[in-house]
Amino acid sequence: MSSEVERRLEALFAEAPEPDPGAGEEALHRALRTLHPAAPARRGLRTAVLAFAAAVVLLVIAAGSLAAAGALHVSFGVKTKPRATIRLVLPKGASGVAAIVDGRLSVVTNDGLGLQGRPVSAAALSPRALYVAAGIGDSLVAMAPDGRRAWSHPAGGKVVAIAWAPDGFRIAYVVHVGHRFVLRVIYGNGIHDTTIDRSVRPVRPSWRADSLAVAYVGGGGRAVVYDLGHLSRDIVGTSAPVTHLAFAPVGRRLLVATPDSAVLGGKTLATGEVEALGWFHGRPAAAFPGVTHAIVRSFGAGGQHVDAFAVPGTVVGFSGGLVVVHTPTRVLAGWREKTVGTLLTLQRRSAVEDVAIG
């Protein structure tokens, strides 16, 4: 009977479906991009390398002996400054914080997990900071906060912006493919990657609070809301180009910024160059650059001005209900309940690309 089952199994699999031709072409394109020529093995070269290595070992032993005897001070190679360790401090009540400084990601969570200095192109924390999604090489990678990979998905280009949906089930990401930026949405477990728009701007998308819609900046510079339930697309009637956008943490209101204004539901809240945009104390808020300080303004439901305060430095963003500010030597977070804390200390001229508090 087993041989009969085996025969039927072979017949069953022989009739399995064929791959789509389009999938093959895309896979071929991606695979060829990873091709590296193998280094030719040359006996002569290998012998020379071995001889050189042996000479170096002898030299080290000899120099070490002399150094131990105090007869010689030895130093090899160019002295390189060790890369500074990023010491992230978790804000009170937060599940985790992630920062990209000089192209390297560091994460710390309230479970005591953390990772240091992983080169990434973009990153986003999942809800409750259980995972971090990051652009690594030409892939989108989900990792536990200690760096263990949950999955890796070939993105076909450099991932430039990532946003994890509030329910944790989906991730929207913008990837640079050829001369275009493409918006895709993938399940939180790394499957069902779907292209939403083949021409978008490299601006971080924003998820609606119910996780059923994602806002992004289309190729024409207008804000677009894509509804995943109805598979419909609505262009938000704001003049282009939109530079930032942020859905409210509760409800369906979308806050957008253009180069010279902050707009909520078609109503201009404030004019001026918008440095960062988000929601603070549940209210729409925008940061405007000043000479030495940035000004953070928040607005009421009707768009009226509610509050304004100055912060020292550049506002990186609004995250975890806090204002995140970059000064020459520190990244600060706070101004909720008037408290401010240091998230991390920096070397001067460090580039702070992103900070997310989950």
């Binding site: 009739e15 695979a31 499957i191």
Partner: protein, 165 residues
Amino acid sequence: MRNARRGDREAAAALFRRYWRDAWRAAYAITGRRSLADDVAADGFERAFAALGRFDDRRPFGPWLHRIVANRALDLLRAERRLSDEELPDTPDFAPAHTVGDRGLLASVVELSLERRVVVVLRYGVGMTPKQIADALDLPVGTVNSRLARALEQLREALEVEHVE
């Protein structure tokens, strides 16, 4: 193969075209989903091409590629199970869409546990020997043989029940 290892894109493309269909079908047979098979097979080729410089070209490329594809598929399925037990079904979706005649056997294959299903797929779908499967999955050959035997026994019992009914 040698030209592909040296970075010759045409040779690499020829290698891809020769093995893509089998790799995709293996990925599909394990995962049971077209979209996942596309990703797994593409990812398998990316990893294989990225590591081509380290590949011993005296060995056959197919089993090595299948090893990568099978492990990638398993990783994804396990991650999927771990990350979203409630969101996604554990069983593949090829049963309703697949139009082969042996629906009874297909339904029984779908009912196999992931561990048993994979060895069955690699043995009868891809044509790998138990030794090759053991190498691909990093398992002892005895474990592969026992999983195959138990899977066949389970399938046989299921088909007997179907026959009686």
